[in-house]
Amino acid sequence: MKRAAAVMLVVARIALGILAIGGVAGAEETKMVGVITKIDIAGKDAKTATVTLKDTKTEQEVDITVNDDLTLDKLKDHRIQDGDEIRCKYEVKDGKNVSTYFRKTAGC
């Protein structure tokens, strides 16, 4: 009985390990450069925003969820605005493309 439980425990650990690896693989970052076609942000106190980027290579539109304070701040005061070209990395979480890197390509 003890042995069976031990075997079960090992099997469970392996299964969890596989799931964990799968989880990591699922959270892989995608990189893209795109132009902002739409910004959806609910006012000054918004904790999230959805920015639509038109991929410069594929011309497909991708909705990006932005949650980080620094980028949200730039969206709120329009330092980042429609027409800006963005270099972006995102991970798919719960069906959403959540930004991990969101910067204007242009500088001064």
């Binding site: 132009v35 410069t56 620094l70 390509t105 500088g107």
Partner: protein
């Protein structure tokens, strides 16, 4: 009696605090009633401030420089006129303008002085009443500035004007500059976000930001003059300096051993173990982007992504066509070991003089023709035969040591082993120590007991 006086003074203070909390910046009611009219509105309570601001580096983009070799002490240097390879243009040769159309038939406005806090009609270094009226006070002082309004456009006379947000809404959100105000310009210098300086100032990257401090808590302005450090590549200054020791004193650690280091090791060396930003750029070859405009080919790195190089620095600067960096030595009695971000830039050099040439970005941005940019800049500067200068220009590399003064950490600061371990980050040999000294400096004898004690404390 004393008690009554104390209560009374507390009540007065409370009333003031309540008033301040309720109304915000004094004069709010007047701004709400009359609207914001630019610096003249600010001047009603802060007379003379506009004129004062025109004398600062933020307006002039230049100052006299006394710690850099090969400069004329009578001339002012800075973004206005410098030629180096992080920004191969400057305010003079790469003035804000509408550039020629690119392959897609599109044009855009660009220039080094886009961050200048004027309206471009009153530009870098201008003076007089018109310049005073052109100051964009709110870009530094408002927390509700709408950057959609700060865009260049052509006026009815065809002149390029930089727009400003002079709305009442923005004016009602005035105060001491926040980190966001400063970083709006300083973050994107050199051709993109974190390209030049390579540091983000937020709670994750800097211990001061994590404590809620803002830029001007250290760079404490005096009459709009901002104290700066001694970055070998940041020449213009307002005559005021800032240093870690100003706040932390010369015995900042509990450990006497660490405090002994302060005499020869700059705080930054241990407390800023990483750097960031572009490590190399090629101004002789520009890459075309998706928008069909060209940009200098740039190797970018994020904040904390690169390791610094350590060198002795006496706060004076070696300035040569192929090198800008620290002077100093182990034995001069003045130098300390500092960390630097090393950057290398490729650009065109004058075939006759060997001097670095500057570039007007308008031609290469539209067509990728970098020599056309050199020719345009040579013409602007009044050089003889600009076409020949550009045709004969020779590509070459310049090494620049940038000061590494942000991304400050306490928890990840270098400890004894990080430097004194055999494979430590400090190259003692390169810093002028003999083989025998290096052997001693990298022997555990130097730190073993202390770290064992610390280990015991931690566990």
């Amino acid at each position: 009696m004393r008690c009554a006086a104390m209560v009374a003074s507390m009540l007065v203070a409370l009333l003031h605090a309540t008033a301040a909390a309720g109304e915000g910046h004094p004069g709010r009611a007047q701004i709400e009633q009359e609207g914001y009219k630019g610096p003249s509105t600010c001047e009603e309570c802060h007379p003379g401030k506009a004129k004062e601001f025109l004398g600062t580096v933020h307006w002039k983009h230049a100052s006299k420089v006394d710690n850099v070799e090969n400069l004329d002490p009578k001339v002012e240097y800075g973004m206005k006129n410098r030629i180096y390879t992080m920004c191969n243009g400057n305010d003079v040769v790469n003035n804000l303008k509408e550039i020629p159309k690119n392959a897609s038939g599109k044009s855009k406005f660009t220039g080094c002085n886009t961050c200048h806090p004027g309206n471009h009609l009153s530009d870098v270094g201008s003076s007089g009443p018109e310049a005073e009226a052109a100051i964009d006070c709110l870009i530094c002082h408002s927390t509700d500035y709408d950057f959609r309004r700060r865009k260049p456009f052509k006026d009815e006379k065809g002149r390029v004007v930089m727009g400003q947000d002079r709305s009442t809404k923005a004016a009602l959100a005035i105060g001491k500059p926040t980190a966001r105000n400063c970083m709006a310009c300083h973050e994107a210098a050199g051709g993109g976000v974190l390209v030049k300086r390579g540091f983000a100032f937020n709670k994750d990257t800097d211990v001061h930001a994590a404590k809620g401090m803002v830029c001007v808590d250290c760079h404490k302005a005096q009459n709009h003059r901002i104290p700066t450090g001694f970055d070998p590549n940041n020449w213009a200054n307002d005559g005021l300096r800032v240093a870690c020791l100003d706040c932390h004193g010369d015995k900042p650690h509990k450990s006497a051993d660490y405090n002994r280091h302060v005499a020869k090791i700059a705080c930054q060396t241990c407390h800023i173990p990483r750097t960031g930003g572009a490590v190399a750029k090629d101004f002789t070859v520009w890459e075309q982007g998706a928008d069909k405009f060209y940009e200098p080919t740039t190797l970018k790195k994020d904040a904390n992504e690169t390791a610094p190089v350590y060198a002795w620095y006496d706060k004076t600067v070696r300035n040569e066509p192929h090198f800008i960096g620290p002077r100093g030595s182990r034995n001069d009695g003045k130098s300390k070991i500092y960390p630097f971000k090393i950057y290398m830039g490729k650009a065109f050099y004058d075939a006759k003089t060997g001097q670095l040439l500057s570039m007007d970005f308008a031609p290469p941005m539209a067509s990728g023709d970098t020599r056309a940019g050199v020719e345009s800049a040579a013409r602007t500067l009044g050089m003889k035969d600009p076409a020949a200068v550009a045709k004969n220009a020779v590509p070459g590399w310049q090494t620049v040591y940038f000061g590494s003064d942000h991304l400050v950490t306490k928890s990840k600061a270098l400890n004894c082993v990080n430097c004194h371990g055999v494979n430590g980050v400090i190259n003692f040999k390169a810093l002028g120590y003999s083989d025998a000294e290096v052997e001693k400096l990298t022997n555990p004898e130097i730190y073993f007991k202390q770290l064992v004690e610390k280990q015991k404390e931690e566990w």
